[in-house]
């Protein structure tokens, strides 16, 4: 029993995060002050949202490299909608953002499901297409803070019990998707379709369709994050969140999501994102150049995947009695 606990990926990661926080706080106690931790969490929320979506996609043996481009495109569209109709209530903005993101995710999903094109190729393509479309619709111009309506900018920053709405949305997403992944048929289908596609077919699960839903969820979360991103930073242009898709994949890998599919949890994605978020926020505090961040997250990915691989190594058959007793 103890062995099961110790090898559990999530607990290992919680340990790593606690250790990291202890190290930082030993020199800068202010870092673990509740207000600062709330700030770090809030800052990491977009990564958490996207990592949850990406985790689901990776579970089904796919990958979604278009999430950051989806985020940027949706963000640009809602910014332009806001500029054109400043009075439009935020609810409609949210509906547009989630709706458009979902649609973009469905495009990926359809190409993977109906045409059976490898997901890495599909999302590589849509990633560049989405970025290009942003340029076309915006004519390469920025939507700046002063053009956005106050309500548009205020929503993600509104403070509830010391945590901005952005952070609360991430918490809500974690709760909702924890339930979806463990307590719904679709949630278990994601695991089944990725863990053993052949068997899933026999169990009455349409693997392609399950992958389609994974991309749809990933797209919906990316769209939602698109609005939250542009309103929080109060700016929208072609290159926002450039390269962010790799941070998202990194968060998943660090969170113990297996790139081979079938293994991963919402908690893992959350912890992986937090690990990267804490490092990013801690670097300036401990007076290390922010330029170190990229190399550190790269190193963390490699260490994480090496540890995961060690834990998942296939064991050979134990035939000898002696060996059987010893184990």
């Amino acid at each position: 029993m103890l062995k099961r606990l110790v090898t559990s990926r999530e607990i290992l990661l919680v340990g790593a995060i606690v250790l990291l926080l202890m190290l930082i706080s030993s020199r800068f106690p202010g870092f673990i002050a509740p207000a600062n931790l709330a700030n770090v969490f809030n800052d990491t929320s977009p990564l958490i949202l996207l990592a949850i979506g990406q985790m689901i996609v990776i579970l089904t043996k796919c990958i979604d490299l278009s999430v950051a481009a989806n985020l940027a495109l949706t963000g640009m569209v809602v910014s332009m909608v806001n500029v054109a109709a400043p009075g439009l209530p935020i609810v409609f903005i949210l509906v547009i953002a989630i709706g458009l993101g979902t649609l973009l995710g469905m495009i990926n999903g359809i190409l993977v499901w109906k045409l059976a094109i490898p997901p890495i190729v599909v999302t590589l393509g849509t990633m560049t297409i989405f970025r290009g479309i942003i340029f076309v619709i915006s004519d390469g111009k920025w939507v700046n803070s002063h053009e956005m309506s106050p309500a548009f900018k205020a929503f993600p920053r509104a403070d509830i019990l010391g945590l901005p709405v952005l952070g609360w949305i991430a918490i809500l997403a974690v709760i909702i998707f924890s339930v979806v992944m463990t307590r719904t048929t679709l949630g278990r289908a994601f695991y089944a379709a990725g863990g053993n596609p052949h068997a899933a077919t026999y169990a009455g699960i349409n693997v392609g369709k399950t992958q389609f839903w994974a991309f749809t969820i990933s797209g919906a979360l990316a769209g939602l994050t698109g609005y939250l991103w542009v309103s929080r930073f109060a700016v929208s242009y072609v290159d926002i969140a450039g390269g962010f898709e790799l941070d998202v994949v990194a968060a998943c890998v660090i969170g113990g999501v297996s790139i081979m599919g079938g293994i991963g949890t919402v908690a893992g994605a959350l912890l992986g994102a937090l690990f990267l978020g804490i490092i990013k926020n801690a670097l300036p505090v401990v007076d290390i150049s922010p330029f170190w961040q990229l190399a550190i997250s790269g190193g963390a990915i490699i260490v994480a995947v090496a540890l995961n691989a060690q834990a998942n190594r296939e064991k050979g058959r134990i035939i000898l009695k002696r060996a059987e007793q010893a184990s």
């Binding site: 463990t182 278990r188 053993n196 000898l320 009695k321």
Partner: protein
């Protein structure tokens, strides 16, 4: 009656009992192949029906049609006599049809309870899965079949036999009326097979209709009530098992009389080519040692899971032994990789042809020349004409049937794929060839051919090691037989000791 086997025998008891699930006049065509042509099949409650046929007879196509994976081109699926379509796998499940497959197709990362209830889990508040109820029900079903498995465990922690039990529990959980078992005993040990038989009997007692697909005649006569024989996608005959003999079934399967005749050999062992001593592995085998001479066939017998293949793969350099020595023709050699083994003249024809033996998406000639490229190329550059020459020489020697030498191996039949694998190794001019279950998945007609050239190889001075689980094959082919049990050598038999009972006694440890 003697030439009767080519025509469809009328089903004498077709109207006797109502079938819960039946196929009537089912036809299924794939590009270029007629997989099934107007076949019928009746599954009757409380009866075990054995579906028998050679590879390619259409058995797996039938399973896929019954489970909604494939749609028939013509004919009817009758559920209690009513024509019903199974457009998706779920429709088959909804009609109480469930299948347990050759390799247990379940989900390692899900819990046992989730595996049992995937797709039809009990629901609680808000339509969410009720985990408590699911775990409890799973426990009840598992207890019902006498399986002491914790429903909360992840499936990956279970052994193969327990995974089978989970698959059966899954079948029971959907209140199946029809249970399809596709070669369920293929990967099980002797004891596990007995337990499975008991389960099948209890399912039968519960009034389930069972379709039992098997290659093994002993188990058909042990548990089946009825039989249905397919050949080349056609129904050849069906009836009660008690009315037929094994010879009758074999005749229906292959369409001709086949007595298992093994090639006559006059063994003339030459010099010693291989000497293995003290070969051990931490978990798989221990202290294996023997010698082998030119022109000799050494059989390795044991139950599935006795460690024979594991030892052979270590000898071939796929895995590393923890101790032991190998001498080839009197010279000690180090084997750290398959390349080393091939370099020292030891080659291995694996059991898993599609994954390990051949590269299915490459042409025949490239498969044959792959290990020999170092020898027939010019300083690392390919010589295509030389490749074709070599491939032709060895494939013709083995009487390969193929459209052309650049046909992909995946398009060949099992027997012809096996010939490509063997041709590949003969082209390296080996000293020792290891054949691991060489006739598994090879139809009866081609088996004799495999035996024939195995004998011929030995006659030409090659040393042959033959791993086989078929007692007639091991006894019919080998000069000596080593029996393994639980990773150890338990007997080395020759001459008059080569009796079926002796082999079984040593292998089972009785």
């Amino acid at each position: 009656m003697l030439k009767q086997s080519d025509t469809i025998m009328p089903s004498e008891r077709a109207t006797a009992e109502p079938a819960v699930l039946a196929l009537s006049g089912i036809t299924k065509t794939f590009p270029g192949v007629k997989a099934l042509s107007e076949v019928s099949l009746n599954l009757i409650p409380g009866k075990v029906t054995a579906l028998i046929g050679e590879n390619g007879a259409g058995k797996s196509t039938v399973v896929k049609i019954l489970t909604g994976i494939y749609q028939p081109d013509g004919g009817d699926i009758l559920v209690n006599g009513v024509p019903t379509a199974f457009p998706v796998p779920q429709a088959a499940a909804d009609n109480g049809v469930t299948a347990i497959h050759q390799e247990t197709v379940l989900f390692d990362e899900l819990s046992v309870a989730e595996n049992i209830f995937l797709g039809h889990a009990p629901r609680g508040a808000f339509g969410l899965i009720d985990r408590k109820a699911m775990t409890r029900k799973a426990g009840e079903i598992l207890d019902g079949i006498g399986a002491g498995i914790d429903p909360g465990h992840k499936l990956r922690d279970l052994g193969i036999a327990n995974k089978h039990l989970v698959a059966i529990a899954r079948a029971l959980s959907i209140d199946a009326r029809v249970v399809i078992m596709d070669e369920p005993t293929a990967a099980l040990s002797h004891k596990e097979i007995e337990e499975l038989y008991e389960l099948v009997e209890s399912l039968r007692a519960q009034g389930k209709a069972i379709l039992f697909i098997s290659h093994k005649f002993d188990e058909i006569f042990r548990i089946a009530d009825n039989y249905t024989v397919f050949r080349d996608g056609q129904l050849i005959g069906d009836g009660a098992v008690s009315d037929v003999t094994e010879a009758d079934l074999v005749k229906m399967m292959v369409g001709r009389d086949v007595s298992q005749i093994f090639p006559k050999r006059t063994p003339d062992p030459g010099d010693e080519v291989l000497k293995v001593a003290g070969y051990s592995h931490p978990t798989e085998f221990e202290d294996i040692g023997f010698t082998l001479r030119r022109g000799e066939i050494l059989g390795f017998y044991g139950l599935v899971g006795a460690g024979r293949s594991e030892f052979m793969q270590a000898l071939f350099g796929i895995t590393r032994p923890s101790a032991g020595t190998v001498e080839v023709a009197g010279t000690p050699v180090q084997i750290r990789s398959a390349a080393d083994a091939v370099g020292n003249g030891i080659v291995y024809v694996p059991e898993d042809r599609g994954r390990q033996g051949a590269i299915l998406d490459l042409p025949i000639f490239q498969n044959v020349t792959l290990p020999s490229l170092g020898r027939i190329s010019g300083k690392g550059f390919l010589k295509l004409a030389e490749e074709f020459r070599l491939a032709r020489e060895y494939t013709e020697r083995l009487d390969l049937r193929a459209a052309s030498l650049d046909t992909h191996v995946g398009n060949l039949s099992g027997g012809n794929q096996q010939k490509v694998v063997i041709a590949k190794w003969l082209a390296t001019r080996p000293k020792v060839i290891i054949l691991d279950e060489p006739t598994k998945g090879v139809d009866i007609g081609s088996k004799a051919a495999v035996h024939e050239f195995t004998a011929e190889l030995a006659a030409q001075g090659l040393a042959v090691i033959m791993v086989s689980s078929e007692i007639p094959e091991v006894l019919g082919m080998s000069d000596r037989v080593i029996v393994m049990r639980e990773g150890r050598m338990v007997a080395e038999l020759a001459g008059d000791d080569l009796q079926p009972e002796t082999l079984v006694r040593h292998a089972a440890g009785i």
